[in-house]
Amino acid sequence: MIENSTYNDNSNSDNSNNDIIDTSSTYVPHSYGTEKRLHPLTILYRAIASAPGVLIPFYFVYTQGSIEDWLYILIGVIVGIFLLPGILLNYVYFTYYITPDEVVIRSGILSRKQRNIPIARVQNVESSQNFLQRLLGLVKIRIETAGGGETEGLLEFVSKKEAEMINQIIDSYKARLEEAAANPMEGGPSRHSADINFIESNKTNRTSQKDSLIFSMSLWDVTLYGMLRLRPTILILFAWLFSMSQQFGFYDFDDLPTDDIEGYIQSIDIATLIAYLIVGVIAFLIASWLIDIALTINKYYGFKLSKESGKLHTEFGLLGKKKGTIPLEKLQMTVIFTNAIRRKLGFYGLKLETAGFAAQQGKVSEVAVPFTKFERLLRIAKDVTKIEYPDELINVSRKTIRRAMVRYVLAFIFPLAGLYFVTSWFWLLLVLVPLFYYGAVLRYQFRGYYITGDTVIIKQGFWFQRIIIIPIAKIQTLNIRQTFFQRRLGLASLIVDTAAGSTIYDAKIDDIDQNDAEEIMQRLNDNFSKIYAAKSELRIED
């Protein structure tokens, strides 16, 4: 109650600031408490999005129309009858409102559910639009918290204005918290003192909020990135088309001449077949490449990375638009990534992993820089994350070549040994052994690590190289693992565990000398203690 009155008292003075604010109504504090519905066009969007489910039965009737297929129509009608009111009811019964320190979402038709998201626990607010949503002016808001999947807030969909307002409220609350934390004399982030500061901090926020642009990509940059990504896009597309074609019966495998398959094969002349094959493969690769470029442009068009106090903002997309926020205090690891070809040309990308939970994988790994030259990337990374990067990394043990060799030979020779029974040319496979050796050496050469005063750097991978940089302050646990074979060679692997949300990046220094591993573990633990001891000292001095 007290809070509310404070807010209303301030509402006048806030309104007087309209000239600074582009969307005047958005900051009126009394709009806090009112319960709101989603954007009305949400209904239209959902109807369109669920249309295929309703229309597919009609499609079947249309293409293979026979009397029995009226069953499909019936299903379609039933689906329609339940779906549309469902969309409407969901819309009507989904409400949300924002109080000074909570986002409250109410949903459910039969059983009502209320979700309270304390703004203090919000990690990240992400807004995104796909093409259709963009046409309709709808924004999807995802409020991520550190509490796992359950406390996440998803608003599908609100208007652009509303999305900005939600962002503003959460931002200014965080700013107040930080301010309060910076001036503990005021008694910490107590709600009352924070309220008094609200208008002021909001003002300073808006003026100082001119994000400084750190990195952006031109259309050419994005196209070049697409050209060098070299993902097997077409395979994915084919797999998708194949499953679709089977579902919809566009393609009938009965057309293949199964009766006379031998005659069919004999009728083909080998030279033509090979020619077809080569042309086919080339066409296939080119198509894959072009699709990859198109997908990349669509995804990363107009990429912008900007910095605001303690936060990074990314914005990109051609048909759909995506805006991401990376809270730097939650940063768990920085990953510099590239593939063999991009590396040859000197191009690298930067990903930032923030804290998250396994349930929301992928959501917590944000691309900060998709593609740029190494020097520039390092400058950005240093600017953003305060990392140090040495000129030279430390190599892992050379004995790792031996281990890799054994593994490759076992992995390739054993399955192929079956060929022994098929052909006497089996021994030709031995030709592969030097290749394995070369691979093992490359693997060794592209591995390395380095420990600075406050970061661990781990480099791995030849084809897909990544350099993982972990702030020592973010270490959760440290592990030294030694398999039976590693122990025989006096090797060990050091695994650095953090709270990074996605588990794609394995922060593991493989195959170093076991004494080195022990020493590094000791050093990391010492540095960890030092960092936190220094932090708590600072706090006492304040």
């Binding site: 973010k474 270490i475 959760q476 646990t477 592990n479 030294i480 030694q482 695994i495 588990t503």
Partner: protein
């Protein structure tokens, strides 16, 4: 460096025994229906495979808990917890106290009978998120839990 309570070996042995009996019974049933009836041609006559399997199990039940016990060590260091374990693959872990999210002391029926318990330490880590120290005298496990609980920490990741 501490070792676990020696009676944890009995608990391990019992749990391996239960599993062994189960698998041996399954194998015997399989042999009874397939090898004995001749539906499956097998190079050993009926019953022999099961006997060999049972003997291997017995060896594991006798030897493995001893080895596991020998390599299980932990240390309560001033800033972090240190664990060492593993027979074939050895793992050494350090978990700084300020990373502890929450703590549990858990007891199975067997453990309760022997006044033992295990301390489960949860961190926010993605890989080996929970750290388990089995076979602690229950009073000690609870004391350790309370001691770690009182360690001042930040909840920020």
């Amino acid at each position: 460096m501490h070792q676990l309570d020696p009676s944890v070996k009995i608990i391990w042995a019992v749990s391996y025994s239960i599993r062994s009996v189960l698998f041996t019974a399954l194998l015997l049933a399989f042999e009874f229906f397939f090898v004995r009836t001749g539906k499956l041609e097998w190079f050993l006559s009926f019953g022999l495979t099961t006997i060999i399997f049972a003997l291997i199990c017995l060896a594991i039940i006798i030897i493995y808990p001893q080895l596991k016990y020998r390599f299980w060590k932990f240390e309560v260091r001033p800033e972090e917890l240190y664990l060492e374990r593993g027979v074939l693959t050895r793992v050494k872990t350090t978990a700084p106290y300020r990373r502890v999210q929450h703590l549990d002391v858990a007891q199975s029926v067997m453990e309760r009978m022997m006044d033992l318990g295990k301390l489960v330490i949860y961190t926010a880590g993605t890989r080996g998120a929970d750290i388990i120290i089995p076979g602690l005298p229950i009073a000690y496990a609870e004391m350790l839990r309370d001691q770690l609980k009182n360690y001042s920490r930040e909840d920020a990741v």
